[in-house]
């Protein structure tokens, strides 16, 4: 019984964590948090820093949990690998606004997860949708 959360250290990731914790409690399941990066840039704001991971850890106190960080060619594949590995019964992801052009150029990790995950996928949004670009508020 495992719930997997795709985590990014920003409001979308936080929303996913909130929903993930709720689901894990409700189902009495273990929580596995996944955070990945393509690792092809020197700095990646979507890759949680040590201090962010510590904060996450203390926030998840009280829930049976595990945090997995990895670097690989494709972010969606990394998450799907974990989903299959722990035989998850639910995957929780944060969903953000994207323009059609942006999606065409950059692709969409969320879309691939929705289509290819072998389990139900819960896609959540932050309580107040901010208009800003997700990368921008944390640098």
């Amino acid at each position: 019984m495992t719930v997997v959360v795709g985590y990014v250290p920003n409001q979308y990731g936080e929303a996913a964590i909130d929903a993930g914790v709720q689901e894990a409690r409700r189902r009495g399941a273990r929580l596995v948090v996944v955070n990945t990066s393509r690792g092809d840039a020197l700095v990646d704001p979507r890759f949680a820093s040590r201090s962010a991971l510590d904060a996450l850890d203390s926030r998840l106190a009280g829930v049976e949990h595990e945090v997995r960080q990895s670097v690989g060619a494709d972010v969606a594949d990394q998450v799907l690998d974990v989903v299959r590995d722990v035989d998850a019964e639910l995957l929780v992801i944060g969903l953000r606004q994207r323009t059609p052009v942006g999606k065409m150029l950059m692709g969409s990790v969320a879309q691939r997860l929705l289509m290819e995950a072998p389990c139900p996928v819960l896609a959540v949004k932050p309580a107040r949708m901010a208009a800003t670009h997700p990368g921008r508020d944390l640098r």
Binding site: G39, L42, V43, R50, R139
Partner: protein
Amino acid sequence: MDSLSLLLGGLQDALTPINVLYAAVGVLLGTFVGVLPGIGPAMAVALLLPVTYGLGPTQALIMFAGIYYGGMYGGSTTSILLNTPGESSSVMTAIEGNKMAKAGRAAQALATAAIGSFIAGTIGTLLLVFFAPLLANQAVKIGAPSYFAIILLSLVLVTSVLGSSKLRGFISLFIGLTIGLVGLDLSTGQARLILGQLQLADGIDIVVVAVGIFAVGEALWVAAHLRRRPIDVVPVGRPFMGREDWSRSWRPWLRGTALGFPFGAVPAGGAETPTFLSYLVERRLAKNSDEFGKGAIEGVAGPEAANNASAAGTFVPLLALGLPVTATASIILAAMQSYGIQPGPDLLGSQADLVWTLLASLLIGNTLLLVINLPLAPVWARLLQIPRPQLYAGILFFAALGAYAVSQQAFDLLLLLLFGLVGFAIRRFGLPVLPLILGVILGPLMETKMREALDLTDGAVSGLFNEALAIVIYLLIAVVLLAPLVVRRLRGRRGSDRRDADEVMAS
């Protein structure tokens, strides 16, 4: 005072809007490549060489000088924010700078680096204005035998003083000298090392070698190590300094300048030695030396000033003798040669306008650097998020374009790839790049001087030793090569003098 009025004349020429624009483009590009580790000013200048064929020599040189200064500054940003020095010259900055950033003083560290660079660059350029003509006046009297000896000295110094391994240095140097030999012998017309390829008869263009080694080699190296764990970056605001920071910084700035300039001007070149010395001096002199290792501002201010002052210093031998002592300076020399300008003792006479405009634009570029960099630091930090595949795709595009543009021959692209593989091998086996590039650039010049000297004595070897200066320099070379052996002997007996240095290297 004569120099000063000439400099003012140069300032007048350099302050035209178009020249200021090129200076601004230069410092922006320079900072850009300085911030990104692995891409340095040498690569940037090499890539831009073909692009500048359309410009006048003055504009091109103004831009290159801006890139050089900008690169020196840009490296410090990466050092401070990431603890990953962008350039070898900012390794020392990383030690204290990154500690400061982690303690929440990134803004002050960046500010002292920027202002220190500005002050050192300005003083260094003024010293250059003073010393270059002086040296050039003396240099006119230097004959071919001494010239040959000086080149030999600078090759030996660069190869044996810098870097960790002499063997690796000399391997790299001889690869470079071999590349420099390819082509027709200048006096007999005999083909050397062309391997039956007629396209090689004209020799190998330095642009192809430099772009291959720096750009393609680095791209292959990065491709081989593409995925790495991202580094935690320290968030940064607008740089500023408090009153205490100023009072603790200004003396290290001046001391760093005093160390950096002479080391840049001596053919032993490079900013590694003076930045290292500056760090040691500041640590020794600091009142609260226990702060060192935990983020002392003096440890950022001194080395940063030293590396910019040494950048200014390297222009002294470049302009007065035609001798480059860093990789970037050697590419700038190649650029000058492609415009038909031969730097050397005659340069200040024959191309006075160009030289004084260049010197003046160094001052302008330096000021622009301060104005641009202080407020833009957060933007530079964001450059680090550029994914490597896209970045290096762009670099490879410009590399191929540049190599092809040299003589519009597809053959050059093959050479480019070949030198890319050489560049990859060099990185793989830890060979230093500088001796190779200097070998390619200075090898042919050294040969010309040697031939001149030998022709005067009808081929008798005594032609190389018939000037007093030449003999002094040969003695110097002997000292440089033998001193480390002697020192090692002595240290073996009574040990721990260099403990300071070892500690720094370890931390």
